[in-house]
């Protein structure tokens, strides 16, 4: 598969306090460090902290173009999100500028199913890694 190893242009995302709050409320988070600047600073964060799974918000803009890439040739009609891993580093806070680069990690076939694995690496404005995501998509009925 020639698409394996292909890397896409970096996607930049500026993290905002209200977007963190919107996300945190949607997933049922209640910790004030996700909503209140003072509470976050008291807990040792630079600013309002993003919940770990906020990684989805700032990295999906990098992963989506990889999924749609014609070289990858992923059949969306038959695709399911099979698995996901995140490895967290430096916490993400409001005001951060996160840059994410996605790579096609692997494409393989087993028992008529196609496995498409993408890796996203997100770093903050100081060059610290904030999250590394592994996105596994499964496509049924590949010949």
């Amino acid at each position: 598969m020639e698409a394996i190893g292909k890397t896409f242009a970096a996607f930049e995302y500026e993290v905002g306090k209200e977007k963190i709050g919107e996300y945190a409320r949607a997933v049922g988070e209640e910790n004030p460090v996700y909503f209140d600047r003072e509470a976050a600073r008291e807990a040792g964060f630079r600013d309002v902290a993003a919940p770990p799974m906020f990684a989805v918000v700032y990295s999906s803009g990098s992963v989506a173009p990889a999924l749609f890439d014609p070289d990858v040739g992923l059949n969306f009609a038959m695709m399911v999100h099979g698995g996901q891993e995140f490895v967290w580093g430096e916490p993400v806070c409001s005001g951060d500028l996160i840059s994410t680069v996605t790579t096609v990690k692997d494409i393989s076939e087993k028992g008529g199913m196609g496995f498409y694995v993408f890796e996203s690496v997100s770093t903050n404005q100081d060059g610290q890694e904030v999250v590394r995501g592994t996105w596994t998509n499964i496509v049924r009925g590949v010949s």
């Binding site: 949607a26 807990a43 040792g44 902290a49 993003a50 799974m53 999906s60 803009g61 099979g82 891993e85």
Partner: protein
């Protein structure tokens, strides 16, 4: 340490999660579209359910999001709004405040996330 969380996403949760996450795939927000695809209703975003597994682990670790170092999940089956989700997990390995938890998320007797593994640091440096 005991990992357990129960949550019932309401009817409009998939819409709020779509807005929050940016994933507007109609299978999550359009009941007619989902029925045409052979489903009983619109389905939850898998990453929403994964966020419940993350939340359950962070809560069990004392609530500090910095304690969650890694989470991997496998999505199996589909989750639906207006039905209770139960996340459970148990410690598989522990050494020096570093804990590995095996977890899953169940809804209506079906495991919608299985083989989840969380890595927690119980004394994260801030």
């Amino acid at each position: 340490m005991n990992v357990e969380l129960k949550v019932t996403p309401d009817r409009y949760l998939p819409h709020r999660y779509a807005g929050a996450s940016g994933d507007f795939n109609p299978i999550h927000i359009d009941v007619d579209f989902a029925k045409q695809a052979g489903l009983p209703s619109n389905i939850l975003h898998g990453l929403y359910t994964m966020a419940q597994v993350a939340r359950a682990n962070v809560n069990a670790a004392g609530g500090d999001p910095r304690s969650l170092k890694r989470l991997s999940v496998q999505f199996r089956g589909m989750g639906f709004p207006e039905q209770e989700i139960t996340v459970t997990g148990s410690v598989k390995h522990e050494r020096g405040g570093h804990v590995i938890v095996a977890a899953e998320a169940e809804q209506g007797g079906k495991r919608i996330i299985r083989n989840a593994e969380a890595e927690l640091d119980l004394a994260p440096s801030s």
